[in-house]
């Protein structure tokens, strides 16, 4: 469904992405993990048209979409959310979601009704008429998901929708994401919350310093020494193995 090949990007001397390639098949929940500053959000921005890669291609549903505008990509069925939530402040939750719904629904009344339905799916059904700026962090994260979902995407890119939530809030979001996939929407996550990645993700790529250093199931990649080093620093994998051996 999404094929990223050979993407590179340089920001004033900083290599944000180096020859990144991966393929997300239809109907899965996949995830992209990696330490802070690894280039995950930049990668999302390049896939969805907010930045143009220096090299490489992005293909979506068999079509080359490299360099298209974000709105053109959203119209083709790939929509992202933002890690730093960006509600339309001053507008109600319903109005916020309706902006997404309008991508395929011309009528105002229909879009508002559809927005209500989507809001119920993500658990915002009781907060439809309050100002989006008045939502809690957890509420705003849900709003991000709802707005994107209202565009009826084929693929949804969720950028850290669980960051900043407490454990019970995370518990509540996990089934929502699973339900999105069950309705036929492919999901690609950027996530720091490993608990969520482990329970949701069928395939995981690990990004470090702009490069993919490992891929596979979540449980496999977290055991990968390169991944441990990326997160915890050089030599850490060695020491952990030594400690395990000593304990055995």
């Amino acid at each position: 469904m999404l094929e990223v090949a050979g993407i590179s990007k340089n920001f004033g001397g900083v290599q944000a992405a180096r020859d990144v390639g991966f393929t997300v098949p239809q109907g899965v929940i996949a995830s992209l993990i990696g330490p802070n500053g690894a280039g995950k959000t930049t990668l999302f921005a390049m896939i969805t048209g907010f930045h143009r890669p220096d090299r490489g291609t992005v293909r979506f549903c068999g079509e080359d979409i490299t360099g298209l505008s974000p709105e053109a990509i959203a119209r083709r069925g790939m929509v992202r959310t933002f890690q730093l939530v960006q509600p339309f402040a001053g507008q109600t939750v319903r109005d916020n979601i309706a902006v997404g719904a309008h991508l395929h629904i011309a009528s105002r009344a229909d879009a508002l009704a559809y927005a209500g339905a989507v809001a119920r799916k993500v658990g915002l059904g009781d907060r439809l008429d309050i100002d989006a700026a008045a939502l809690t962090v957890a509420g705003r994260k849900r709003l991000e998901v709802a707005r994107a979902l209202a565009t009826r995407p084929k693929l949804i890119l969720l950028d850290e929708v669980m960051a900043g939530l407490n454990p019970s809030e995370i518990e509540a979001v996990i089934p929502i994401i699973r339900a999105i996939r069950d309705e036929g929407v492919t999901v690609l996550l950027i996530e720091h919350v490993m608990q969520a990645v482990m329970s949701l993700s069928e395939h995981t790529w690990v990004l470090n310093q702009g490069e993919i250093i490992a891929e596979g199931t979540a449980s496999k990649v977290v055991a990968d020494p390169r991944v441990i080093e990326a997160y915890l620093g050089k030599g850490m994998a060695e020491r952990m193995r030594a400690r395990e051996a000593a304990n055995a």
Binding site: F50, E71, V79, P87, V99, H102, A148, T151
Partner: protein, 326 residues
């Protein structure tokens, strides 16, 4: 739907004015208030709903005014055709300015300054070419008849401006209740997020600047036909640009009724100050400036915001009273 009914009710009530008021003076005040509401509503489409603050709406106003005047005086074209042409040329100028600024992502203060500069360029041009009468200005010959869009009675001018202003308000009502408007406000509140949801921000902004330009141009046409004289600083000078933004800022940006409240407020203020100070030079404009500072600082949502808050307060009050009894 309720806002549409309220809108129609308000305009029907305004329509009663020429029946009730026989004083030429007061009819003129009402006409100029409607005209200010039209100017302000035109600005509101782009500034209030689109979040793009223009400091140069005179560019569209002046183009509409000069179009109808020049067509009549130089080419003998009927002003009714000039009215349509004025709206269209103003829209075209807006499209040009919009294209050259939005294409390059100009926003905020930069957009404001560039629009101001465009208006200045047009002012200098109209001051330098012959067909506008240059610095001397252009006088539309007095020839009062319906076919000539000039009226002997103020009542007829009233109906002209009433119709134009109602049209602008209906368009803004539509903006508040349509996909176009939802997208426009989304771009205003967060352009990046709107684009991520498939909103073509450039197109939406173009749509709003063209609509805004058309209505500003129509206000210019009305001005030309009502006062029958134009010169570069009347048409393209900063006064019109300032009035255009002052009206919705005082009344409430991004609201349907804001420009009407704002227009009524500034006319009330100017009548009051000229009553008190006896038309001392500068005083009423100084008061406008002070109002602008005060509104932006203390009431960014304008008079309309105040009305909504009062409404909410009155609805909330019984609750408080009940609690006190409990």
């Amino acid at each position: 739907m309720r806002s549409l009914l309220l809108l129609l009710a308000v305009f029907i009530a305004i329509a009663a004015v020429p029946v009730l008021i026989v004083s030429e003076f007061w009819l003129d005040v009402v006409i100029m208030t409607l005209y200010a509401a039209l100017l302000g509503q035109a600005w509101n489409i782009l500034g209030g709903y689109g979040g793009q603050f223009s400091f140069g709406h005179a560019a569209y106003f002046g183009t509409g005014a000069y179009t109808v005047a020049v067509l009549q005086v130089q080419f003998g074209v009927n002003p009714w055709i000039g009215l349509v042409a004025g709206g269209l040329t103003a829209g075209a100028v807006a499209a040009f300015i919009g294209f050259s600024t939005f294409r390059y992502g100009l926003r905020g203060s930069y957009f404001a300054l560039v629009t101001l500069a465009f208006a200045e360029v047009l002012r200098i041009l109209s001051n330098s070419v012959d067909f506008t009468g240059a610095g001397v200005g252009i006088l539309i010959p007095l020839e009062r008849s319906l076919a000539n869009l000039q009226f002997a009675s103020k009542t007829s001018y009233f109906w002209l401006i009433w119709t134009m202003t109602l049209a602008a308000f209906l368009v803004v009502w539509w903006i508040g209740n349509s996909r176009f408007g939802a997208r426009l406000m989304a771009v205003r509140d967060n352009e990046e997020a709107a684009r991520a949801l498939g909103v073509d921000a450039f197109r939406v902004k173009m749509g709003s600047i063209v609509l805004s330009g058309i209505f500003s141009g129509l206000a210019g046409v009305f001005y030309a036909q009502y006062l029958l004289y134009l010169d570069p600083s009347i048409a393209y000078g900063p006064a019109v640009s300032i009035e255009s933004l002052l009206v919705p800022i005082i009344g409430g940006m991004g609201t349907l009724f804001g420009p009407l409240l704002g227009a009524a407020a500034i006319h009330a203020v100017s009548e009051f100050t000229s009553e008190v100070t006896g038309d001392a030079p500068g005083i009423s404009l100084a008061v406008y400036g002070a109002l602008l500072v005060v509104m932006v600082t203390f009431m960014p949502r304008g008079l309309a915001g105040l009305v909504t808050r009062l409404g909410a307060w009155r609805r909330a009050r019984p609750l408080v009273a009940e609690r006190r009894h409990a």
